[in-house]
């Protein structure tokens, strides 16, 4: 039972049009300079990757102006939405978080949900993209069943049945087809993301009845049928189905239920709710006006918070927190609670700025507003009340933006020391979508791992390390960035000195120099690749696969729209959700048609 592995890249049905001067290398003096300055250490792939990133970054969007006010003063040529860029109908597997969110939305948040499914393979910077290339092993099925069994038992137990099951059986010790049918039909529509066919509903009721008779317990029978639904491929595999596009003859688009599911996973990280399925059923999603109304409803929903958290948790690579460890003898303040709260702090900061405040995405890297918990209090050196409390660092604080939060600083450091290289690499790869080559296999780390005692600071040790020309190439693109965060140790605590020597936290980001982490945050804020990288990630997250070069016209359009809307995340989500590429799909391959028709699925 394998999901399709042939649908990773997005495609275009026609030749990609030239975007004209916006693709000129002259538009990317900083990127070109970066390659030219540091090229000796790059492999060809790295250069290509960087250039690819440049092509998808900022050219159509004059994003060098931090405030966005330039858009009025200096209008740029408006790019129309490219109607010929389409996505692919995909078959994906549900992530653990999507599974939890879906069940919590259907049955309520008090269920004890803790689905532990195997992680996806990070593809194109996102785990979510790996959901289209996942397999299902026997061990994984056991995990699904364990979760399903617990959930089904809890939904039907005496504490929940009175409000989760809409009817009472005539006899609790026997079957009741009418009541079972009422419950299973309602829940089945939400779990399978489409209405149950009559024969499908009848089969489920038969299962519940047979089990109830055998177990002499109506609720046990219902639990049995529900457990089966919760591990059904129809629940776990997200199958997108194409249908003819009535507005564009000869084109295909996602059918209403598939589009509802894609929207829901994109914006809520959950299966669709009843209203969304109603919109799919009525055809409202197929009209621009109806779809806009639905998307507006979804963006106004509290579930947008879960969707936003899921996206940034994925983009920021926070799954690595599950394996993050620090040497307790070196960093006694960094506990397990610190790691968990560091992740939560950044997600709260993101949600507050981008969703609650509807702020500019770039301000994530300069904002002094955040949230503090008791576990984080010792590392930040600030008071914290019980639970989470809003906190704003004062203007003279060295902390500004999420780069200076413990999540970034600790996640991208060694267990016992800081790492300008890891931090610089993470900034490039995660936030600027610029892959950094792996170190060569014969690299000599002795100058940083067993340093000369006279080299007191990490800057001095890395300078010595870079004397090796094999190492110098890569380090030139990471270290000038990461050194800007050297005032923070491997756990994210502030320090003014290292081994008695004052730390020099100056550095540069592709030609923009700075003296400390505050300056680095501002440089990143003003970097056009910052916003174009987000656009690329959000777009590929929405369509369920990494964006290929063929999507460049779409990305250019999205970049421009993002800038025009003041880099508001919610507007970016809306633009993508309403775009043609989000709903239009290329014609189905015979292979996909076979899968969708169920010739292999669930057999």
């Amino acid at each position: 039972m394998l999901a399709s592995s042939a649908d990773r890249a997005e495609s275009s049905k026609v030749d990609v049009p030239t975007i004209g001067k916006s693709h000129s290398r002259n538009q990317f003096p900083r990127r070109s300079g970066l390659v030219a300055r540091t090229g000796i250490g790059f492999g060809t792939c790295a250069i290509v990757a960087l250039l690819t990133s440049c092509q998808t970054s900022g050219p159509a969007v004059n994003a060098h102006h931090p405030t966005g006010a330039h858009l009025q003063a200096q209008p740029v040529a408006r790019i129309a939405e490219p109607k010929d860029v389409v996505s692919r109908a995909r078959l994906r597997i549900m992530t653990a978080q999507q599974y939890d969110n879906t069940l919590a939305n259907i049955f309520g948040p008090d269920l004890k949900l803790d689905a532990q499914f195997p992680p996806m393979t990070r593809t194109g910077g996102l785990l979510e993209n790996g959901a289209g290339v996942a397999g299902v092993s026997e061990a994984q099925v056991e995990q699904y069943q364990r979760t399903a069994s617990l959930v089904a038992a809890e939904v039907t137990d005496s504490a929940h049945r009175t409000f989760l099951i809409p009817c009472t059986p005539a006899n609790e010790k026997s079957a009741d087809a009418a009541c079972a049918g009422q419950f299973l039909t309602h829940v089945g529509r939400l779990l399978y993301r489409h209405p149950l066919a009559p024969e499908q509903a009848a089969a489920l009721v038969n299962q519940a009845d047979a089990a109830a008779v055998r177990l002499k317990d109506f609720y046990a029978g219902l639990s049995y049928a529900l457990e089966g639904m919760l591990i059904s491929p129809e629940m776990l595999l997200l199958t997108e189905t194409a249908a003819p596009d009535r507005t564009q003859p000869g084109h295909e688009r996602l059918d209403g239920y598939s589009l509802a599911t894609r929207l829901s996973l994109f914006l809520w990280d959950s299966g669709p709710d009843s209203r969304l399925l109603d919109a799919a059923s009525s055809g409202a999603l197929e009209t621009p006006r109806g779809r806009a109304r639905v998307v507006a409803m979804m963006l106004a929903s509290p579930r947008l918070v879960a969707g936003t958290r899921a996206f940034f948790d994925d983009m920021f690579g926070f799954d690595d927190f599950q394996t993050l460890t620090k040497d307790p003898s070196i960093y006694p303040s960094f506990t397990g609670a610190t790691a968990a709260d560091a992740r939560e702090q950044t997600l709260r900061t993101v949600v507050d700025l981008l969703i609650t405040q509807n702020g500019d995405y770039r301000d994530l890297f300069t904002t002094r507003k955040t949230f503090i918990s008791t576990a984080l209090s010792p590392i930040y050196g600030v008071p914290a009340g019980s639970g989470w409390t809003a906190y704003e660092f004062p203007p003279d604080s060295p902390r500004t933006g999420i780069l200076t939060q413990v999540s970034f600083l600790a996640l991208h450091a060694h267990p016992g020391r800081s790492s300008p290289t890891r931090r610089g690499k993470a900034l490039r790869e995660i936030l600027l979508c610029e892959p950094v080559p792996h170190p060569p296999p014969n690299v000599d780390f002795s100058k940083v791992e067993n340093p000369d005692p006279s080299l007191k600071t990490m800057r001095q040790r890395l300078t010595a390390h870079r004397s090796n020309p094999v190492c110098a190439g890569c380090h030139r693109i990471t270290d000038p960035i990461g050194l800007g965060l050297e005032n923070f140790d491997g756990a994210g605590e502030y320090r003014g000195a290292e081994n008695g020597a004052t730390i020099d936290a100056s550095g540069s980001l592709d030609g923009t120099t700075f003296t400390d982490a505050v300056g680095l945050g501002q440089a990143l804020h003003d970097d056009p690749a910052l916003t174009s990288c987000l656009v690329q990630r959000v777009y590929s997250y929405g369509i369920g696969g990494a964006a290929s070069a063929k999507a460049n016209p779409m990305l250019a359009y999205l970049n421009q729209q993002f800038a025009a809307h003041g880099y508001r995340f919610k507007d970016l989500l809306r633009t993508i959700a309403l775009s043609n590429a989000f709903s239009e799909v290329e014609e189905s391959t015979p292979q996909m048609r076979t899968v969708r028709n169920g010739s292999s699925l669930g057999k």
Partner: protein
Amino acid sequence: MRSLCTYFSRSIVAAAMAMGLAALPYYGAHAAGITNRTIGYVLTNKYWAVYTTADAKIECPHGFNDGPREQFAKLFPNDGVKRTLLETQLAREADTWFPASLEEKTAQGPLPFYYVGGSTAIGLNLDGKVGPNDFTSPEGEPGIDNQLYRVIGCVAGFRPGGAYYFFMNEYMERYAFNRVLIEITNVDSLVNDDDVTVTVYRGLDPLLGSADGKNFLPGGSQRADERWGQRYITRLKGKIVNGILTTEPANILLPYADTFDCNTDQHFKAARLRLKLTPTGAEGLLGAYVDVDEWHRNMAINWTTHHASYGQMSVPSIARALRQMADGYPDPVTGKNTAISSAIQMKFVQAYILHPTLPHRPTVALAR
């Protein structure tokens, strides 16, 4: 076997307390110190001060005292005599609360109880005098009043490594009721300041343990319980000389949590603190007279015979000894002393003390 006290759940009042932390200054990790002429600390460790030598020959030349099991075997030997439950276990249980009956009336005379015999003790000079029963501190200070040490110094459970010694500190982290805060205000220097105010509060938040499990972390936050814990709020006048804080005598009430989270209060009379202060912690002594009836009752309530046996802590014997060694606060009618001098070794870590029910205090920004 004595019954255990009722297990009370704690009220949670945090939700009602708005913090408004954005108005507080940024301190920076490890830069904690005096801010706004204030510094706070939270108590992490406390031990009844027991001075020990390597082989205990000096302070306990006769060895350590028997515990409940050893005493029971001596009181009721397996000698063929038939004894009822009432005459044995239940009678001994009564001794826990009304001591000095059975063990003083054995055929061989009272069971022995070994008091500390040395001349050195940890503590403070509470009465300002140097009396014949006073100790000398390990640093050479005469007139140390710590008669409680005479009672418990040769009881294994109270010595370092003993059951009581261990659990009293384990409970500091495990339980919440016994969170003790001190806030030093009107302070300009942690080295020398001739006039500071020390306020004792009960805290509401857990201690923060370090990642290696060996220590507690400075830099945490503690909400002062100014609603339900008003009875614990005590203001003391003090001064700091060469980094040592000394407070003037005053009565202090501290929250006390013991086995199975049995919560009660502990009164300290004519109490004074002597603490070495640093920006990240404080360490030193609380010297005071403690009420012998309260001390006895707290131990009898909170330590089952099971637990007491592991520490060889005989409550009847200790209660009897407490009254014999009591050296303060004579009863106006009987003339018998009702309190005994004592000392507690204390460790604190720095903590930001929040006053949820009070208006925000003006703050000053520190460098960084």
